[in-house]
Amino acid sequence: MRVRFWGVRGSVPVPNKHMLGYGGNTSCVEVTLADGTEIILDAGTGIRELAAARIPHASTVQILLTHLHLDHIQGLLFFGPFFDPTSEITVYGPPAPGPNLDQRLARYLSAPLSPVDLRELPARVEFAPCPHAEWKVGGARIRAATVAHRGVTLGYRITEGDTTLCYLPDHEPALGARLADAESGWISGIGLADGATAVIHDAQYTDDEYAAHVGWGHSRVSDAVTFAARARAQRLILFHHDPSHDDAQLDELEGAARRSWEEADGDPTTLLMAAEGTTLEL
């Protein structure tokens, strides 16, 4: 399983020269399975560059949206294959009562907010709520579950053979719970992350910042480390960087997180700050 980061920023894109080391695009991660199946996690602004660099190796593409906040869908209509009539694209998203997924997306992706309407896309596109039960894509099994964030939000667990990737870009498992000593079965998202080869996890805030943002749906770096340790994850990739955190600050946070990860019996080399362009072979 190959994982490539195209957008790692939370909330809003930041085209700032002091932030380009880690990158300014919002959430988008590409997962390529051994058989070439392509799965795209979220459609933040990073998906535009993914599309531009993309060498199609599959006739179909699966886009898995965790939720519909703007930083996770803002790049959707900049994904080139939507404008290729030979493309077959399935967009999965969180189930919710009321309007269908495409109708909910169209609140943003339609006039007057967008010059292109979802109904005009030349590609064959299907919008579907994520099933409650595990399903298969290519050689992988995928499981989705709602996790603690504002609004209905999914996390994903993708398993191919012995390799499991867990994706929790927007997640506040510490809300109302003491992560360090809560019963593990009663921690949001832990069933998705349990024993994963790698966990990509929200790490938006510093400890100081978190105090003023409890309940906003994001994690401080220290909680991301505690969560991954409780889940017995082998690797932790800190993700969804706050738009105010520049490269120097992210370097510092990474160093502190590695020390905490080591104290929790993790190998410090298995923790990293997600950066645009990074590719991992799991």
Binding site: A96, P97, H132, R143, T146, A148, W186, G191
Partner: protein
Amino acid sequence: MSGEHQPLLLVQGRNLITGLALPALLTDPDGGLLFFNDAAAELLGRAFEEVGRLPREEWARQFGPFDEEGRPIATDHLPLGNALREGRPAQGRFHVRLAANGELREVEVSALPLLEPDHYEGALVVFWPVEEAASGTS
């Protein structure tokens, strides 16, 4: 998902009732007891840690529902059964048996189904002694 890993609605429900001064409990979709809070423990006379998770029949046998004579009554059409069957909040009254002294106590019960778009995760049940509720409003 593994049975040991609870879905978000139950996790959030437990977080909510842990800090609630009103007696409350959580069940799975079959009505099995998953957790009750300290206020419920005070009323029932046993801590959750002593009781643990129980199938619906077992915790009904221990705590109720009973009629005023202490006879077990069917749970299907009481608040929890209605909530889990019909997917709507349900209210009712019955008696529970207090573990501390075996006394029967009439309680008023509200059950809220924890309903996702296409399936149940369980129910959140709050209950309170009828006498206290009556005196509290006088």
